[in-house]
């Protein structure tokens, strides 16, 4: 992408630098505190560290959603699909790493294939014993799906709710497909019982620490990448598309290409988030594709504040922390609190939690814009042609 020299200030603006500073502190402090002796009052348990690692993955996913929703105006209700696909690619690598240490001791086949009488490894499982191949797939599979889907949808000028609902159909179809045991992805149980990654024991604190730091680094890099996109000329065009798609098209921009590029980048980021998530939680299964998950994602972003990127991070962390806390503190009625939180934030904080703090931000003055149905008559006439 082309970045204008003056834009560098834009990428690392105040909020970004602040965000990165906090991220670096969190990324370094937690593992250091974890390494302390457990009797030390400042000790952070491994439980807390993995939990925060999980939040960081969610945060990266939320940033990916914010990129397409906040800056491009595409409300994707299927982003969890890309996350889950990245997760499955990683999960398949981790399954192959088990080797003959499965309960049946089969050197090649994962356990779930053995007891369902599979005779040989399905073709799409080949290659996943190599980390580089898995890493490639983590990027390629979500990216490719986003490319094909986006290419079809954007070229046909499917917009607004129609686009939202077919992204939902996409993730729903994938959910059902991955549930099928014939697919060879472990059905409802998914992939689990992972042993090690790159030769390191997944249950050791050191590996967990490394995964945690990796998640923080991925979030940082993903964040910077998104900043680069949104501050570039491409990003400006994206915002223009968000606010007036037909006008942008008539000015002469290739709207489809811009949309497609950003959509694919976002899908790849989601895939990476999924890949880092799986070894930390120890399971990937089809429920990650659930349409409700995707809706929840959007809720995180909306709660934190759209079109700010850091708002997405705050939203993801806040909602998930609330979930962790409430499910233990008030297991019987926590849904009331969570539901009420969503309602109240929408009513009283229209720009999300970050809306309170962001008087200084210039580029999101229109973040409550009604992109889903911005009255855009020209666009509509274009469709009928």
């Amino acid at each position: 992408m082309t970045t204008h020299p003056q834009m560098y200030e834009g990428i690392f603006n105040k909020s970004t630098i602040r965000f990165l500073a906090v991220l670096i502190v969190v990324a370094l402090a937690v593992p250091l505190l974890n390494a302390l002796d457990s009797s030390n009052p400042l000790h952070v348990t491994t439980y807390t560290m993995t939990l925060m690692g999980k939040y960081l993955c969610y945060a990266l996913l939320a940033v990916a959603v914010d990129l397409v929703w906040g800056y491009l105006g595409i409300l994707s209700l299927g982003h969890a699909a890309f996350f889950a696909l990245g997760g499955y690619a990683m999960g398949m690598y981790l399954m192959r790493q088990i080797g003959d240490r499965g309960v049946y001791g089969d050197p090649l086949l994962p356990d779930f294939m053995v007891f369902l009488n599979w005779q040989e490894l399905p073709w799409f499982w080949h290659g996943f014993d190599q980390f580089w191949f898995a890493a490639l797939m983590i990027v390629l599979v979500p990216g490719l799906l986003a490319f094909v889907f986006g290419w079809l949808a954007f070229r046909s000028r499917v917009t607004g709710v129609y686009l939202s609902i077919i992204t939902q159909a996409l993730t729903y179809a994938l959910l059902l497909a991955f549930f099928r045991n014939e697919m060879g992805f472990g059905g409802n149980n998914g992939l689990t019982d992972f042993k090690d990654i790159l030769g390191f024991d997944l249950q050791s604190d050191a590996t967990r620490m490394a995964l945690y730091v990796a998640s923080a680094v991925a979030l940082g890099l993903g964040y910077i990448a998104c900043r680069m996109i949104v501050t570039s000329r491409l990003g400006r065009v994206a915002v223009a598309i968000r606010d007036a798609e037909a006008r942008t098209r008539f000015i002469g921009y290739k709207v489809e290409n811009v949309k497609l590029f950003i959509f694919v980048v976002s899908a790849v980021l989601a895939g990476v988030a999924g890949a880092l998530y799986v070894p930390q939680v120890g399971i990937i299964n089809p429920s990650e594709f659930s349409p409700l998950n995707s809706i929840e994602l959007v809720v995180w972003v909306a709660l934190g504040g759209r079109a700010t990127l850091y708002g997405a991070v705050v939203g993801a962390v806040a909602v998930n922390y609330a979930k962790t806390y409430l499910t233990a503190a008030m297991p019987e009625i926590w849904l009331f609190s969570l539901g009420a939180m969503f309602v109240l934030v929408t009513l009283f904080l229209p720009k999300g939690v970050m809306g309170i703090l962001q008087r200084e931000r210039p580029d999101n003055d229109d973040s409550d814009g009604n992109n889903l149905d911005n009255g855009n008559d020209l666009d509509n006439s274009g469709v009928k042609a």
Binding site: R18, V44, T45, T46, D100, G105, S287, L357
Partner: protein
């Protein structure tokens, strides 16, 4: 600055609450890991209440080792990764000595590595597909040989020649049906007399499938349906059976996932005579059962609530744990885990169930017919207790595996052919 403060505050709040365990040293903590919201809440909430009742009763009896028991309840919200997170929270943060929980196989699979890593104990109360034996998990529900195979034997006895194996598409029905298919073929049932059908979770439109079953059953040979249909999909399935007028004496349906609790959500009049295979029915006549039902009604303050098989499994599991703790004199999970093997406690059908070296238990198998009041009437019962088999003899991958967690072998999946014990996590 504001932003930074907020982020820091969040981070600190996170680590604070994680670090500060409200440790009350005077109690023994028991974790309850059942979904109270989401799709599984319908089944699991009852088990949470059962655990609270059992713990309450034990405290009334004076607690355990001179201490009171304290239940720690969390809600994994039918979300499988959350199960693993909550399991870790219970063990690491809340310091529980044993956990009673999980319903679906996937939730068990999700928490299994956590229990093995942190060496704690999980009591799993639901019938499942077998093919597992973990050092840290005690399976108090039925293995396939304690439910599916006796049920098929009974139906064969009743002259059934054609079989429909209908299930929800996930691992329990898949495995059970694989086992049953192999078993039926071994008994000489030709392939053409077996129809296998899988449906997605929560399937609600059963018209075509029920009509297919009807056609399959109208070929002149006595036909039965073996149903491993899960949870929510059962109600519309049974309603459709009733609608299309399939009566139990023509095509009986024997189910492994439908108990008193599920029936309480259905009008059972059209279903009289359909079957279920369990290790316990509420209608069983025994003194312990009467006491249990009475205690349950008193605890839940509702005379109409039913009891079911997984509740009995928790009853057995909890009492086994109590006995083992008494035997070991400590609640240390690694010691209690060893002490559990061989412990026998009364079950609710009037006999004793014992924990076996493979971490499964011995149970009687009962076949019951649905009555119009939503209860089951036992029509058949195994003469003795059936020991749970972790590894099925009817699956090629697992027929050579045995499980024995006692000292010299100490292996959940020992291959007798290769003399190898593979894939242990501890």
């Amino acid at each position: 600055m504001n932003l930074k403060k907020l982020m820091l505050a969040a981070a600190i709040a996170g680590s604070m609450s994680a670090g500060s365990v409200m440790a009350d040293e005077d109690t023994i903590k028991v974790g309850v890991l059942h979904s109270l919201s989401g799709t599984m809440a319908i089944s699991e909430t009852t088990l949470k209440d059962t655990m609270l009742m059992l713990i309450d009763e034990q405290n009334k009896k004076g607690g355990l080792l001179g201490k009171k028991l304290e239940a720690v309840v969390v809600d994994p919200a039918s979300n499988w990764p959350l199960f693993a997170e909550k399991a870790r929270e219970l063990i690491e943060k809340k310091d529980v000595d044993a956990v009673f929980g999980c319903w679906t196989s996937v939730s068990r699979k999700s928490v299994l590595p956590v229990f093995e890593e942190l060496d704690s104990l999980l009591f799993y109360p639901v019938q499942y597909e077998g093919e597992e034996s973990s050092k840290n998990v005690f399976y108090t529900g039925a293995a396939p040989n304690q439910q599916a195979i006796p049920a098929v034997d009974y139906l064969m006895d009743q002259g059934v020649k054609r079989w429909v194996l209908a299930g929800t598409d996930y691992v329990y029905p898949r495995t059970t049906n694989k086992i049953l298919e192999a078993y039926l073929k071994a008994k000489g049932v030709p392939e053409s007399d077996i129809m296998i059908n899988y449906t997605p979770f929560g399937h609600s439109d059963w018209q075509s499938i029920v009509s297919d079953i009807k056609k399959f059953g109208s070929k002149g040979k006595k036909t039965a349906v073996v149903s491993t249909i899960n949870g929510d999909a059962n109600v519309p399935f049974y309603k459709e059976l009733g609608n299309q007028g399939i009566s139990a004496d023509e095509i009986p349906v024997v189910a492994f996932s439908v108990g008193e609790e599920e029936l309480s959500g259905i009008d059972t009049k059209p279903l009289v005579g359909h079957l279920a295979a369990w290790n316990y029915f509420m209608s069983v006549e025994s003194d312990v059962n009467d006491e249990f039902i009475e205690a349950w009604h008193a605890f839940i303050k509702d005379e109409d609530r039913v009891t079911n098989d997984p509740m009995e499994a928790h009853y057995i599991g909890f009492n086994m744990w109590v006995e083992a703790v008494k035997k070991a004199g400590t609640t240390d999970p690694s010691v209690v885990g060893d002490a559990l093997i061989g412990v026998a406690v009364p079950n609710l059908t009037g006999g004793y169930s014992a924990m076996m070296p493979n971490h499964h238990i011995t149970k009687p198998v009962l076949i019951g017919e649905i009555q119009d009041d939503g209860q089951f009437e036992t029509v058949w019962k195994t003469s003795g207790l059936v020991p749970g088999d972790a590894w099925s003899d009817f699956l090629p991958g697992s027929k050579d595996l045995i499980s024995d967690w006692r000292a010299p072998l100490s292996c959940g999946n020992y291959n007798v052919k290769t003399s190898k014990c593979s894939g242990q996590n501890y």
